[in-house]
């Protein structure tokens, strides 16, 4: 499912809204999630999961081609942890 398919499915679920609203809603939600993470805020969606940042300390890496050492600065990377309900519903062997 792509973003445009998601928008189409949401539009179909809300026939009283104009199609543009579903489009804008998806944009507002994704922008808010990106903004939260870039402030290092957590995102917690009951039944779905949580997003947070993981810290990666600085390290000395190597250019695999030249073998040269390069300093890799510290950074944060986004991390998603599926919630219990999503985990169980996705798992084929999970209890229904």
């Amino acid at each position: 499912m792509t973003k445009s398919e998601l928008i189409a499915r949401l539009a179909a679920r809300f026939p009283q809204l104009v199609a543009k609203d579903a489009d804008l809603a998806v944009k507002v939600v994704l922008d808010a999630m990106t903004a939260a993470l870039s402030r290092n805020d957590r995102i917690e969606i009951r039944g779905f999961g949580s997003f947070a940042l993981n810290y990666r300390p600085p390290r000395v890496g190597r250019n695999p081609k030249s073998g040269e050492k390069v300093n890799v600065p510290a950074k944060h990377v986004p991390h998603f942890k599926a919630g219990k309900e999503l985990r169980e519903r996705v798992d084929l062997n999970g209890e229904a």
């Binding site: 998601l6 804008l24 998806v26 939260a36 917690e44 940042l53």
Partner: protein
């Protein structure tokens, strides 16, 4: 501060002009549709944000950390999230002096 469904609904009320009821329902529907796709074995690609993918993991040996007893971890399907380049860049540029741990 933690972003939750309630804050997302407030934003839909303010920025999209949905009424409170619709805003709350829209947030529920947003995550519900993603969950339905994943449940059906379909991956979800939200350009500019990231991809939710499914991985089938085979059974592997595990251990009860308390008793040391060996028990197999059953085969399972799990959801993984891969942030888009755009999202990675947005969070990488955090002020590390203040934000580190």
């Amino acid at each position: 501060m933690t972003l939750t469904k309630a804050e997302l609904a407030d934003l839909l009320f303010e920025k999209v002009g949905l009424n409170k009821r619709e805003a709350k329902d829209m947030v529920e529907a947003f995550f519900d549709e993603i969950r339905i796709a994943l449940e059906g074995g379909d991956s979800v690609k939200l350009s500019g944000f990231g991809n939710f993918q499914l991985r089938d993991k085979p059974q592997r040996p595990g251990r009860n950390p308390k008793t040391g007893e060996e028990i197999p971890i059953t085969a399972r399907r799990v959801v993984t999230f891969h942030a888009s380049q755009k999202l990675k860049l947005a969070v990488e540029t955090l002020d590390h002096a203040n934000a580190a741990q």
